[in-house]
Symmetry: D2
Subunit: 314 residues, 4 copies
């Protein structure tokens, strides 16, 4: 019988809620629905044990991980399963670089550190990566802050024989995935794109932050869809009543034979945190497997799961 | 400069209207919009000359091809271009097998015979194929009647050094193409399909025939989408005011991580005859090129353009 | 405190399931959501007691009403509330007119008989009306079979001092309601309708019957929407996986100032049986109130709740 | 035969383009499509002559009105009709109050002044109203700047025997009209609103201004839809490729009987300037008729055509 992977997590937001609850859900129900890979190197989706958790919100620190994930502003729904206590009290997250050793100490016994905090705090992301290095733990950066795509960091992890995965998680099934698939299909079939738009609406705290502090980087990434300025992305809309659901409206106007009109309108509704957890579960197992097999540095298998893997611009 | 392909056509319905008008449109405008392949073996999309046309409707017989394509019940719109007379009077189509020689005679000078009549008259389709054989002309069967997937016919064309293409044209961009792309994407990303439906609405005479005489074959083909009974196809709806437009409503309900709900709703609007003409233009050039290069039998290149190519069940 | 209305029901399908469960739901939760009128003449939505139930399906006869409503082919979902036994065993429904007295006997103690069987059996509907007359009970006909719009029947109930309500229940919120509202809005604002369509998809047994035996009457009623042939109704589509949900796709194409295009696309998703129960709850209270106040014949108040009230064509 | 109304216009943007072209279109085609009222006090929709036009854009000043309406950033499409020269050169618009007399002089011969500039310049709007007063001309304020809802201005026009109409044109058919109709319908039928959202996308210069300088006033007006915080309005999205089209996506989630779910999704596509012109054509005729009948002040008939008629808050 396989030894479960021992995981520490930074950030106790909606994505962590979806991950922690989902693992319990699959363990209890035996369901395989919504899972991309049943096993990775022998590890099933419920072969994960949480051994440490870090958060900055005062309200969450000190609470058991399985309670903290339901505290506001988290609004990912309660899945339909029992959730036994993890007996993992949430620890105060790192505020300055002087605390790296404290964090490294708290990682004793962990195999993988999943960095799942909000994007935009590069120094913090790197401090946790440093702690992972010191503690001999694999590191996964799900934020857009450059860690794994910085050659210096890859080199350090490689030398230490530790896996480093990142940057910027690609959702299992989100607007970009669907929009790109439609645009690609159009092209394959020889149709000519006239115009296309995308509107994204969401109700999580992360979404609200993104709306209020639109990062040029995010925007430019969205715009990367753009084929010769034919694709436009409307501003994100924060609608609290959507909760952890994300709604996207897509439109594609094209021309077929004789320049006759072809039009496509699509509405997509997903739970954003599920899209993250569905990929995190694979990353955790890839990282644990690489660590156990003594493969340091970046595991190639992780590439399709990130928007900015090593080799992309910082 | 390349010699234009000389084409005869059976059936002067909407699909032929889209083909004839589109060729004139591209010749005049130089546009490349909506075209899958600019050239095939040197032949551009407007390197086609019509040299004969057959129809059964009394009203169309005797009229120039460029007039007949606008007669009712045809309702494909008039494209925005001049349409010079073809000087090809529509000839009375074949009614019984005794007329094969008459048709063969009328094919003098043609390189390709495009069979673009309604599906469901296998004997007629084969009589035209026979005429093509006698006249030394390549044959394209766009209907679901079994010709090219009957090994005996392939053999006869192969021996005669003539290309034979078919059966059952796959539209350039239709409901099946889009529905399949979405279902495939879902699977690739590891989501679990819960249910899906498809409704098709159209306003052409062909569509009305299909609604009134639903062929089991068509239905079973639609049902081929079905992944373990999860996909349902609603009955076709004939709505005259749609004209040559086809509208499809698709819905996909799925589960992501933790069995949370993912839903997709899509509306597609296309001109059905454009979808056919956009593929016919490739088939004509593949057939002419094969003929000119002395390749008899089935050209492998045509396979993705048919729903029932050789090797599929009759 | 008001005396609860004592109700007998004919037909133990989805609509009865929604009605019986909903009454228990509102009694237990105190919720007022989804209710059109909190009270009618003092009667709240949970002031209903079932005292008899008739069905023809062998499987349902003899079972308690609160169990029979969950038997196949019923597929209305289980509402989130406790459902105490009604202690009303389902009685074998009337098969021929000779049984009217048996039914009348079984109505002892009832104030209102709700006829909620499938449409299309006029003789049966009238036999139950006859039984109601003999038992001194108010009668509600929710089917399209002509009872209340037949002047002879109204006269008989009037003379007996008993209320008679019908025919053909108008749903609380269905496709027609929404489609008509949009077409009316268009007209009010001076836009010109170009074309409109409606497609209805459903997954109940009633829906399947309607698809397989399309009644000219139903179709003509749908077509009544038609403003000078501008509105087209596509054939109903039975999609089993929809369960008791109904999905409608509506499209409206119109012209505004300068004949510029205006288009509207709408998707509606409802539980059909809820739409029926939401109106039945008002009819029951109107009928009980009229009976208690000695008002025989047709209560004017019921008119907006039927598609074919007295005065409309038979 | 009726004497055509003589109209001066301030602002030569998309709305004026739609108005000027539409009048020519209806005159030429005799069509009545898209028109709310064929005649008002004998005046048909093409019984309008333009006698003066004011604009601030240097490029437009000096050009004939019928040319200036096609200059950028205007992007309302060219209607399918001839457009004879108006022989009305666009005059430089008023910049400061000292120019009121110049404008009043230019209004000689006009009966109505239509103020159709962008909202947000109250002093300018009032200066034009002053000029109308001095010239003895009726005044229509289509902007949200308070003129007609300021009692002092109504009084001045009343004393002068001149009509004053405003403020803030209500579109003939826009998002608010449709959204309100759906919410009202829900309420009428007794359903309970759970949540609703609205997203508006547009491609005109006006739209871009609104996106870049979101006026609290506009926002609060949109929010006026809000029934107890159940309705949320997403930020406006400027998508240049939409041109003068506006696209809105609406969603309504509600509860019916037993709190079962009801959902509505709607996409609306309109030409915004047509929605304005379709109302302006009525306002012009109401104003001309009132002037000719000697009715000064606010004509009650205009009330439903404005969002902020007299009596609403400033």
């Amino acid at each position: 019988m396989i030894k479960r992977a021992r995981v520490a997590v930074v950030g106790v937001g909606n994505n962590t809620s979806a991950l922690v609850q989902g693992i319990a859900f699959y363990r209890q129900t035996g369901s395989l629905a919504g899972i991309n890979r049943a096993t990775i190197d022998g590890l099933g989706v419920s072969d994960i044990d949480f051994v440490a958790a870090f958060a900055t919100s005062a309200g969450k620190v000190g609470r058991d991980l399985t309670e903290a994930i339901f505290l506001p502003p988290n609004n990912f729904p309660r899945l339909d399963c029992d959730l036994p206590r993890a007996d993992v009290p949430v620890t105060k997250g790192l505020v300055d670089a002087a605390e790296v050793d404290r964090v490294a100490g708290a990682l004793a016994g962990a195999e993988v550190l999943l960095y799942s905090a909000p994007s935009g705090r590069t120094e913090t992301a790197r401090a946790y990566a440093e702690a992972a290095l010191r503690a001999g733990v694999a590191f996964i950066n799900t934020t857009s802050d450059p860690v794994a795509r910085d050659p210096m960091w890859i080199e350090r992890f490689q030398e230490a024989g530790l896996p480093l995965l990142g940057d910027d998680l690609a959702s299992q099934f989100g607007t970009s995935v669907v929009h790109n698939a439609l645009l690609r299909l159009l092209k394959e079939r020889g149709l000519t794109l006239v115009s296309s738009y995308q509107v994204n609406l969401g109700g999580t705290e992360d979404f609200r932050n993104l709306v209020e502090n639109p990062s040029t980087k995010e925007q430019s990434k969205l715009n990367a869809l753009s084929a010769a300025d034919k694709v436009q992305v409307a501003p994100l809309g924060y609608l609290s009543h959507l909760g952890s659901q994300k709604v996207a409206h897509l439109n594609v106007e094209a021309q077929g034979w004789g320049e006759t009109a072809v039009s496509l309108d699509l509405k997509l509704k997903v739970h954003d945190p599920s899209g993250a957890a569905g990929v995190n579960i694979d990353l955790l197992r890839i990282a644990a497997s690489a660590l156990r097999n003594g493969q340091g540095g970046y595991p190639a298998q992780a590439t399709p799961l990130f928007k900015s893997p090593p080799g992309t611009a910082i």
